[in-house]
């Protein structure tokens, strides 16, 4: 081909159809918003049936995780996520789906090295970086308390 790599890359980028950003953003807004609003309703419902607020704070994400895992198992989650994009990825539903989907897939490789190990191929980094950054914050916070 009588073009150099840079020119070719630019040409490819210029002709590739872009993702429909406005439509994608709208769908992400609606589904993500709906999940959060549902969680808020759940939060108020748990409070209404006289569950302690401290417990409710854990119970709400646990319920959402349960529903996301169930819908992934039923094969519904991916069909929804195809349209929702960030709408299902960003809420804790995305984390939950990232945990169960490789587990479900790699059942054929056994319960230990399949389900047990592969469960964290996508979600593992989230826990790793979350914990690392929180430990760093904890040390800084402690130092500030000692020094100031």
């Amino acid at each position: 081909m009588n073009v150099d790599k840079q020119t070719y890359k630019k040409y490819v980028a210029s002709r590739a159809p872009a993702s429909p950003l406005v439509k994608d953003m709208f769908l992400a807004f609606v589904t993500g918003g709906a999940i959060c609003a549902f969680a808020e309703g759940l939060y108020n419902f748990y409070l209404f049936i006289k569950i302690e607020e401290e417990t409710v704070r854990t119970l709400v994400p646990v319920t959402i995780v349960f529903l996301a895992s169930l819908s992934t198992g039923l094969g519904v989650f991916d069909s929804l996520a195809k349209f929702a994009g960030a709408g299902t990825l960003v809420p804790i539903t995305g984390f939950s789906n990232a945990v169960i989907s490789p587990a479900l897939d790699d059942k054929s490789e056994g319960l230990v090295m399949g389900v047990g190990a592969k469960m964290f191929t996508i979600s593992g980094p989230v826990i790793v970086y979350g914990v690392i950054s929180s430990v760093i914050y904890g040390v800084i916070y402690w130092l500030m308390g000692v020094l100031l």
Binding site: V12, A16, G73, F77, S101
Partner: protein
């Protein structure tokens, strides 16, 4: 490397295509020999399903050629799975000399090049060429788990669940493999796995222009030119570049990735891909057209994107390759 003419052109005496559900719902549905709408082919894992699909394709092709497996000199087969297990297990019970190939989506042409050369040179009287891909095994290996919720970019291609088989023979009524041109690796620096058409198009351009330059032929000398699976993006790119080089392919050119699915009714983004895509289109649709006589002389250029999950994660660009096979109803002449 130059075009290799096969004077005693081997004949394609048997062919079969086996596909999954979405392929059987596409525009070519009538041309496939068999499909399984559950895509498991009676097996309990996707990997076993792909092997079974390939094995069924081989047996159907043998049956059409009125042969038994024992009469094959060798089997040339490939797929997308690690260490080519799809093909190894498929060929296991045939007890024939076996060559496992990896050429990504170009595998079927790679096998056809090797198989027809060895048959023509008298090494084997008959041999089988096989290729398969399965959406579920490819997705697990190259992308995300099946139930993982994500969005595909518009340039991405779907790995076809499909297998195709050719039986090549020194004797036969045709169609014949008249010429082959093995491809060289061409890497234009594309790193996006969701735009494999752009990564493979330069290789197809390289092989096609070499062929036309060397033989002095023009695109309109053929009834049809098909690329393996460049998809919508690659199709557009190669048309552009060929036009700039002075070859107008618009009237005779199509792409297997675009033929396999309906871009209107099936949500397949830029079309199909995978070893099985062009294998099933060739061994299903194209061979049926030769049978009917609506096709006399054609070029098949299967393209492959030769990356691995590790090379992608290391940020390396995708090497492309394209092998050319000329298939004709006539055994000799121009």
């Amino acid at each position: 490397m130059s075009v290799i003419r096969l004077e005693n052109a081997p004949s394609i005496i048997g062919y079969a295509a086996v596909v999954g559900r979405r392929e059987s719902e596409g525009p070519l549905s009538d041309d496939f020999d068999m499909h399984d709408s559950k895509e498991k082919f009676g097996m309990d894992t996707w990997e076993k399903a792909e092997s079974e699909m390939q094995r069924v394709a081989l047996n159907l092709a043998l049956a059409k050629a009125k042969l038994t497996g024992k009469e094959l000199g060798a089997i040339f087969a490939g797929d997308l799975m690690n260490q080519c297990i799809g093909s190894s297990y498929a060929a296991e019970c045939s007890h024939r000399p076996f060559f496992g190939l990896y050429g990504a989506c170009s595998t079927f042409a790679e096998g056809s090049v090797l198989g027809s050369l060895l048959v023509e040179r008298g090494v084997f009287a008959k041999c089988a060429v096989l290729a398969s891909s399965h959406f579920c095994t490819a997705e697990r290996q190259f992308r995300y788990p099946l139930e993982y919720g994500g969005q595909r970019t518009p340039t991405s291609q779907r790995t076809a669940t499909a297998a195709g088989a050719f039986i090549l023979s020194a004797e036969g009524e045709g169609p014949y493999v008249r010429e082959v041109l093995p491809g060289t690796i061409v890497d234009m620096g594309i790193t996006d796995i969701n735009n494999m058409g752009a990564a493979m198009a330069p290789a197809a351009y390289d092989t096609l222009t070499k062929y036309f330059e060397e033989t002095g032929k023009k695109p309109e000398d053929f009834d049809l030119i098909v690329t393996g699976d460049l998809g919508k993006e690659g199709h557009g790119i190669i048309c552009d570049f060929m036009k700039n080089a002075g070859y107008d392919m618009s009237r005779v050119y199509n792409d297997c990735g675009l033929m396999l699915y309906s871009t209107q009714t099936q949500d397949m983004h830029a079309g199909g891909s995978g070893c099985g895509c062009s294998a099933a289109v060739m061994a299903g649709h194209i061979m049926k057209r030769f049978e009917k006589g609506s096709l006399r002389d054609m070029l098949y250029i299967a393209t492959g994107a030769l990356m691995s999950p590790a090379s992608l994660q290391q940020g390396r660009s995708i090497p492309g390759i394209a092998h050319l096979v000329r298939i004709s109803a006539e055994r000799s002449g121009e």
